[in-house]
């Protein structure tokens, strides 16, 4: 496939790794922000191909992971109603709330449907005028234009039986939050390529400048990720801290202006809670007042729900790059993708789930077995 195969060329991957090795003089910690990048890095083993001392840590950029448990529980309350058709992207259906996941609820008779595009909800609403169609509008900036278009079109076409349960997160406030942590280890960032396809990267420039960290907006293919890492290491070695764009075939500094315009007309920035992390100021979107008739939380008046996360889970520290999945005693033992305890295990793009999917929990078991065998000998 054009623009895909070229960026998976193993010979060129090797030459980038050689170049990183050639210029590196000391250890560096670099965070990839986006869950899609985390998945690609672990799938292709990119972190293990890098020279010793170049450590990749995995950021909070998986929207399924950071959707608060309370919001998932609210989705369950709404989806269980007999007058509701609840629509969602597929990833969200497997995430357990306090009382099971949406798939289980569906098997018990709730009308829950997976959609390819948010616009599918308009068709469903037209075909079911006696039902209330609710869309679980989750995502980062990448998905906001698609979700905003659903709400915009619903209002424009006066489709009154469509509403959205909004759980939208924004990347730059989460990066700032990580950099402000007293325990922060991150020295450079691979910026999220598809988030910046919408937003451009102007808003990352003051962050790079203020916190003196290089930020390289990076794509998702193996060569993209390796080249982004090389560009970051070059800056770290040179002592510079600017925003660079590795993914120039897809985005420029201004991003997608028409998409951003529609997003800003439908959503406004609000404080929000991130699962595993807590509240981050101005880090999400909520519907503007003009669109309140499509706000599912307002329509269904779901009360605030108290939830508890297991104390053993260290996903908050993993999302901030302070710890790795192997540092958790529950990883791969009592916490697996089938029985997730927290944010980083609930979606394939979470660091723990990606490590598990590509067999890295077995490394931990092997290491523990080696210790036991060594002790016995």
């Amino acid at each position: 496939m054009k623009y895909l195969d070229e960026y998976r060329n193993p010979r060129l991957a090797q030459s980038i790794i050689n170049e990183i090795r050639r210029i590196q003089t000391r250890p560096w910690v670099i965070m990839e922000v986006c869950g899609g990048q985390t998945h690609s890095i672990v799938k292709h083993g990119i972190d293990r191909l890098l020279p010793d001392g170049i450590e990749l840590v995995h950021g909070p950029g998986c929207p399924v992971c950071v959707t608060p448990l309370e919001t998932i529980d609210k989705a369950h309350v709404i989806a269980a109603r007999p007058d509701v058709i609840f629509c969602s992207f597929g990833d969200m259906l497997r995430v357990p709330g306090s009382h099971g996941d949406l798939f289980t609820l569906k098997s018990q008779g709730a009308d829950i449907r997976v959609v390819y595009s948010p616009l599918d909800c308009l068709k469903i609403a037209h075909a079911n005028p006696d039902k209330k169609v609710v869309f679980f509008a989750i995502g980062f900036e990448t998905t906001a234009p698609a979700n905003a278009m659903l709400v915009f079109r619903a209002r424009q076409e006066k489709v009154s039986n469509v509403s959205v349960l909004v759980s939208h997160s924004l990347v730059p406030p989460s990066i700032t939050y990580i950099l402000q942590s007293p325990q922060n280890r991150v020295q450079g960032f691979l910026g999220p390529g598809h988030v910046c396809t919408i937003m451009g990267y102007r808003e990352y420039e003051p962050i790079a400048d203020r916190y003196k960290v290089p930020i390289v907006i990076t794509g998702f293919e193996p060569l993209d990720l390796l080249e982004g890492t090389l560009m970051t290491v070059r800056q770290l070695e040179a002592g510079t801290a600017t925003v660079e764009n590795q993914y120039s075939r897809v985005l420029d500094r201004d991003g997608n202006v028409p998409a951003r315009k529609l997003v800003n007309s439908v959503f406004e920035v609000s404080d929000r809670r991130w699962r595993g992390v807590g509240w981050i100021s101005k880090s999400g979107y909520k519907l503007r007042w003009e669109y309140r008739e499509h706000d599912a939380e307002r329509i269904f008046e779901v009360k605030e729900i108290d939830t508890n996360e297991p104390a053993i889970c260290i996903s908050g520290q993993i999302l901030k790059g302070i710890k790795k999945p192997h540092d958790c005693p529950a990883f791969g033992t009592i916490c697996t993708p089938l029985t997730p305890l927290g944010a980083t295990m609930v979606s394939a793009e979470g660091a723990c789930a990606a490590y598990y999917a590509y067999g890295r929990h077995l490394d931990k078991q092997k290491a523990e077995a080696a210790v036991l065998l060594g002790g016995a000998a």
Binding site: K2, Y3, A13, L49, H194, I198, S248, R249
Partner: protein, 92 residues
């Protein structure tokens, strides 16, 4: 979740006031809204996320980036050993 896939615009049409396209991804053809990429035309490669094209792939930039990597490969291939696991892996 922020996965976006590049595909080729095969044809354009209007559906309920939205500018839509049939887009080919390898062997699969799906519909995508073109409202956010007013510049996209038949034959272009677009990046599609949840049914919306969000960017037109810039062919010149794609080639420029790749050429730079190839040049670096020619410069560095003499001064470093080949790591087995990379060279043994087939492109996917």
């Amino acid at each position: 979740m922020c996965l976006a896939i590049s595909g080729k615009v095969l044809e354009e049409f209007n559906k309920g006031g939205l500018r839509m396209a049939r887009v080919q991804f390898g062997g699969i053809i799906r519909e995508a809204a073109l409202d956010y990429v007013p510049e996209a035309k038949v034959g272009d490669y677009v990046l599609v996320h949840v049914g919306f094209a969000i960017s037109t792939v810039n062919a010149e930039e794609a080639e420029r980036t790749y050429k730079l990597l190839e040049e670096m490969d020619q410069l560095t291939e003499l001064n470093a050993p080949v790591v087995e696991e990379v060279s043994a892996r087939k492109p996917q």
